[in-house]
């Protein structure tokens, strides 16, 4: 069985600073990592590998050249090999460009049974890539999966987590599955696994390797025009009340009465 896990390298969102004058985010020089949901997808692939015989896990990741380092985490968690896409030609792709790129990589990888992704990326969370990839590859798809089982006879059984209900579904392989944070708790790889990861094969593929033309991916092909991307304005009073508990609560109640928010 061959499982492909698609992963996105993102900046550490907790380290983003906002320029106070323009409200622009400062993204330069930030540490990078894999998104949270992608780690759930990878962990799920590795758990299947530990349960069933003859399972190979390939991690496919898109990001900046720093991915050469970041990918080691995926290999340490348990991917057998990796393909990384760091060519600047892929940069600035919209969801259509990213999905086209992933579809071409998957086709070049050949036979596979399952493609796993996160329900959305941790940074922009549009959730489009699994759906677009399913369309491009013409595969059955199950989204928002919080429980996954591989059945006999190349089938899967999955529990989809929707707003008001859990849907238990089954479909045949090959298929595309995107997972939620509840599907598992990703492991922290032990030191021995981290050392071993350095010896696992990593291929770097550019647009020419997968047969995508320049105009098909990247910022030039994007269908989204971002007019601005700024921190929201929050005008809060930031009145900090300190002192004896009785006093601060009295002050708070007076303030809330003035605001007219106490019934």
């Amino acid at each position: 069985m061959h499982i492909i896990v698609c992963m996105k390298q993102i900046v550490d969102l907790e380290k983003i600073r906002i320029k106070p004058d323009t409200r622009e985010p400062v993204l330069e020089g930030l540490p990078v990592k894999f998104g949270d949901f992608e780690k759930n997808a990878l962990e799920e692939a590795v758990r299947i590998k530990e349960k069933l015989p003859d399972v190979k896990v390939t991690a496919v990741a898109i990001g900046s050249p720093k991915l050469k380092d970041t990918i080691k985490e995926a290999l340490a968690i348990g991917a057998d090999e990796a393909v990384i896409l760091t060519d600047p030609a892929f940069g600035g792709s919209d969801e259509m460009g990213t999905s086209r790129t992933l579809a071409k990589v998957v086709q070049k990888l050949g036979e596979f049974d399952l493609i796993l992704l996160g329900e959305g990326s941790t940074d922009d969370h549009t959730g489009q890539v699994p759906s677009r990839l399913a369309e491009l590859l013409g595969l059955p798809q199950v989204t928002y999966v919080r429980e996954l089982q591989v059945l006999e006879g190349r089938r899967i059984h999955a529990v989809r987590d929707l707003e008001d209900a859990l849907e238990v579904v089954e479909t045949s392989l090959p298929a595309i599955v995107s997972v939620t944070a509840e599907v598992n708790t990703p492991r922290l790889p032990p030191l021995t696994a981290i050392l071993k990861a350095a010896r696992k094969p990593v291929k770097t593929w550019g647009p020419g390797d997968i047969g995508v033309a320049g105009g098909e991916v990247g910022s030039g092909a994007s269908t989204i025009n971002v007019l601005s991307n700024l921190a929201p304005t929050q005008q809060r009073k930031e009145v900090i009340l300190e002192g004896a508990v009785d006093d601060v609560i009295d002050k708070l109640l007076k303030a809330l009465e003035r605001e007219g928010v106490l019934a």
Partner: protein, 312 residues
């Protein structure tokens, strides 16, 4: 814009989107893609739809997103639509991505604002994990915009329309639903709460929630929480989680109790009228989001606050 088609698996959201189209003075069509939805036609006309496309195709019975997307793509063609507005529910978001790919169209999902400007539709959505708001225009010939529930205030315009049986050629989905387990609705609706008390990891034991509930009861409010409380500790229902991957709420009064105020949580309460934070760490980011902050031990502050509120 030559034609706008609206689709949502939730009636309230379909009516919200139709209200938006009516405000543009544009003709609207709506796709009603379930047996249940076919009965919404008259309401859709009252909210501005001129045409309602329905189908009794058995392939739609299971409401699988791949079949819904194929049906929608075929209706887009029949209706001559170049703008497809979808309700950004979970099923809707999946349908949006699929239909966009079928049309070779750009798509934005989870829009929390939508307006027309210079003949273009401008959508806003959270980006960078809630750190920023991205303002976007989809520039492909056809465009798909998935809009969050309650982004637009629905208002009837009156009017009538025509029900059209869509001519669809559909195959059943390769995905089969074998069971549907409705989630416990619970009595707590954090989205419409007037007063919302949110708890975080600062509450050390589940039994301590009773103390916070007493405060909520006194204020006539409900309890919400940050992700660890619902999804890791399972002390509260996942429907009570506030933030980017949970519910959004715009209460009159928000009180954050023992939570640090990570952006992933606070994006969910941006629309609050007045915010209060109670936290022992005076450097917690929640104080930047607070109109009034109390630096102190929640185990002292919360019971005392409840007591004094009762004595008012």
């Amino acid at each position: 814009m030559s034609g706008i088609l609206v689709y949502s698996d939730r009636k309230s959201v379909a009516l919200e989107l139709l209200t938006f189209v009516a405000s543009l003075k544009q003709p609207a069509a709506v796709a009603l893609l379930s047996h249940e939805a076919a009965a919404w036609a008259d309401d859709c006309f009252a909210y501005g739809a001129g045409r309602a496309y329905t189908s009794a195709d058995p392939a739609l019975a299971d409401q699988q997103p791949d079949v819904l997307a194929e049906a929608l793509a075929q209706i887009v063609k029949q209706a001559g639509a170049d703008v497809i507005l979808v309700g950004s529910t979970m099923r809707g978001r999946e349908v949006a991505g699929r239909v966009a790919q079928k049309l070779d169209a750009g798509c934005t999902t989870d829009a929390n604002g939508l307006r027309a400007e210079n003949g273009q539709l401008v959508a806003t959505r959270y980006a960078l994990g809630g750190n920023t708001i991205s303002t976007q225009v989809v520039k492909s010939a056809q465009q798909v915009i998935a809009v969050m529930p309650q982004t637009i205030q629905a208002a009837p315009t009156g009017g009538s329309g025509e029900v059209i049986e869509a001519r669809l050629t559909l195959s059943p989905s390769p995905v089969k639903t074998v069971e549907r387990r409705p989630k416990e609705a619970g009595s707590v609706n954090v989205e419409t709460a007037d007063v919302l008390i949110c708890v975080g990891r600062g509450v050390s034991e589940q039994k301590d929630l009773a103390m916070v509930q007493a405060l909520a009861d006194t204020l006539g409010g409900v309890i919400g929480c940050t992700r660890p409380v619902s999804h890791d500790k399972h002390w509260l229902s996942e429907n009570q989680m506030i933030g980017i991957s949970g519910k959004m709420s715009s209460p009159r009064l928000y009180v954050g109790v023992g939570l640090s105020g990570q952006i992933q949580h606070t994006v969910g309460i941006m629309g609050s009228k007045v915010t209060v934070a109670i936290n022992s760490d005076k450097n917690a980011p929640i104080f930047k989001m607070a109109d009034y902050g109390i630096v102190g031990d929640l185990y002292q502050v919360v019971p005392k606050l409840t007591e004094k509120l009762k004595a008012r």
